[in-house]
Subunit: 430 residues, 2 copies
Amino acid sequence: MAPKSWLPIAGSSHFSLANIPFGIISTKALPTPRPASIIGAHVIDLQAFAEGGGFSPLAVLKPHIGVFSQPRLNAFAALGRPVHSQVRSYLQQVFSEDGSYPQILRDNSDLKSKVLILATEATTHLPLEIGDYTDFFAGINHAFTVGSLFRGPENALQPNYKHLPVAYHSRASSVVVSGTPVRRPWGQILTAPPSVVPQAPVVAPCRRLDIELELAAFICKSNPIGEPVPVDEAEQSIFDYVLMNDWSARDIQTWEYVPLGPFNAKNFATSISPWVVLPDALEPFATSGIANDTDFATYLKESRELNQYDIRLKVDLTTQKGITTTITETSSKNLIWSFPQMIAHHTFSGCPMRPGDLLGSGTISGTTDSSRGSLLEQNGGGKKLIKLNGGEERKFLEDGDTITIYGVSGEEGALVGFGECSGQVIEARR
Amino acid sequence: MAPKSWLPIAGSSHFSLANIPFGIISTKALPTPRPASIIGAHVIDLQAFAEGGGFSPLAVLKPHIGVFSQPRLNAFAALGRPVHSQVRSYLQQVFSEDGSYPQILRDNSDLKSKVLILATEATTHLPLEIGDYTDFFAGINHAFTVGSLFRGPENALQPNYKHLPVAYHSRASSVVVSGTPVRRPWGQILTAPPSVVPQAPVVAPCRRLDIELELAAFICKSNPIGEPVPVDEAEQSIFDYVLMNDWSARDIQTWEYVPLGPFNAKNFATSISPWVVLPDALEPFATSGIANDTDFATYLKESRELNQYDIRLKVDLTTQKGITTTITETSSKNLIWSFPQMIAHHTFSGCPMRPGDLLGSGTISGTTDSSRGSLLEQNGGGKKLIKLNGGEERKFLEDGDTITIYGVSGEEGALVGFGECSGQVIEARR
């Protein structure tokens, strides 16, 4: 159980005292974006808290207190994991019923009135300024199912798949925070199978708009160019985790992606959840992932065995009529490569990372229809209809559909969750 | 001819009064990076010039004069092309023998002593903070030659090649300024042809380190997410051009790139030239590129016919012994897609661009051995030896080799050039 708080926290809240995630908020009263945490139904304005001396017992923060007056969390991230840990522990103390610092906030009604904001009155923003965004492909069930659709189960996984965490560089500028509408993209689309050559594409709004359920990590530590991050040190490079929906235009992708990979099929929008959850908060839910039966390279071998997290993931589709269907339930442990392995591989060439770089896991799927993290897998490559509550059916997303991803670990009263990552599809530009 | 300057400018200088490029410098006396221009052998410290009132006749700059006290050119870029044009024209006037502003600098020895710095005494830095970096594949001669090596001439170009500017998202964090050494990357490398399956890769330093000769453009204008940039407006989004060497690890690429494109094979380093050349300066050298015989989509059709530039490009390889061989001479007009077409396609999905985003052209090659912009093309896929002066031979780059790219347009006395884009290969980390 999480320590009990003097602040009322619903047992079902993702933001128990065991969590203490970070984000960026603004309010009507103060439209300047600034760092915050969230506990139960309350947002903690960390700028106001810092300005009011709330962090004064935390000596380590003194020279860096300005990080809480920034419009993004990059400067806070760059302080490094030991500092994040101390800030989280300290905030847990401040909010604990029997914590060591009752005078800091509980008994300071003036500061409390400035710091505590109802979450419903705060607007969330992108938590970090994103440097480079890389999307991996570590969801082996997804890779296998999609590969089977295109090449049959015997050739589903490419020869490199179990030797290295396959990835591509993706687009940072179109990463948006949960709640941002997603406009259906236009693109070049084939009307016959790609095997029909030659054929000219039509130019049209995407007809196969899909989702990709992912977990993502922000980087907090720089490595110089030319200096790889060893796999067993890579955990220190991870600031936090967010939920991600890597919206995908399957028809645009089919035509464009050979030979250099997905481009416009992915760069129109990627949604992330607003509250970033520290590795410390997820540590109790560490577990092993999907075993890799290949004797892969030494630089990818971790001494840590429990290198994934068991986060319960759920995807809801809500139609324009407001009827919701849960289309996916799975666990974030369905990955064959861990984030430290991804970082070790990404930097093995000497590629530099910077605080604010974002790594997506790739689509997370289980092995049953109701646990697959993309519609493409659920509809068998566009062949089957997915039945929704209220009688509607889908192959791919329609205008007005809202996709909401939830992710949470732990038990009632001590949940460590991400809140939600949502986005509504709006019609293509005319 | 360029207007004559009161400042001595060698006729062979890339930085005639017809050019006026921009960059970021620091000096021993003032290590803070700041904006500059370059004319002949002199760097113009634009921060000192602005602080000394040098821009006072230019009313349009008054509210924005702080852009010259920034460590990167992004804020200057974001002012938009009409402002860049006026600043360039004004500086041409200031430095003209018969310009309208002799009192600004020529007759102001105090300001002159602060503003004029010998280029040899200045260190250049990355000109802009790079947001996203996208690499296109618009050099059709390169695409054809490399495609022929892998699939034969009949299938050399993928079916999509002439319908859209093929591209991939690349890595911004490893873009470095000319002069930065390039460390040979490690990676997973196959020892037999990829057709031999299964086989396990070895982990080793890259053995097929290559170059890619490119022209690149920085973006100066934002478009909101969901709002494409029409092709005939896309020129207004281009801040400037630089030379680029997109270093490539061919052996790492062969193993990793299916199905999501190049990753570690490219993300260890990309070099760019330090002085960014405005489209205004290149306008006299506008020409047509390689004709596209495909009836491609309307959103890519430009009304402008002269949509490429004729920049004479040259690549020198200097061995550790200091012996230089020119290995490539070609023209930047060897592209089938223009930068406005690249921007129109990139944003057609709704992808947002921001000032500081970087677009590479893809490898620029002619059709003869001595005009190919990568070693892979020159050596026929690693089969032929390239003869160097002094008796050495190369298939790919060796440690200690320096690659220097030059690019210049126009005639002696009025040259518009980029200076150089160079990098020396240093040995792989042990």
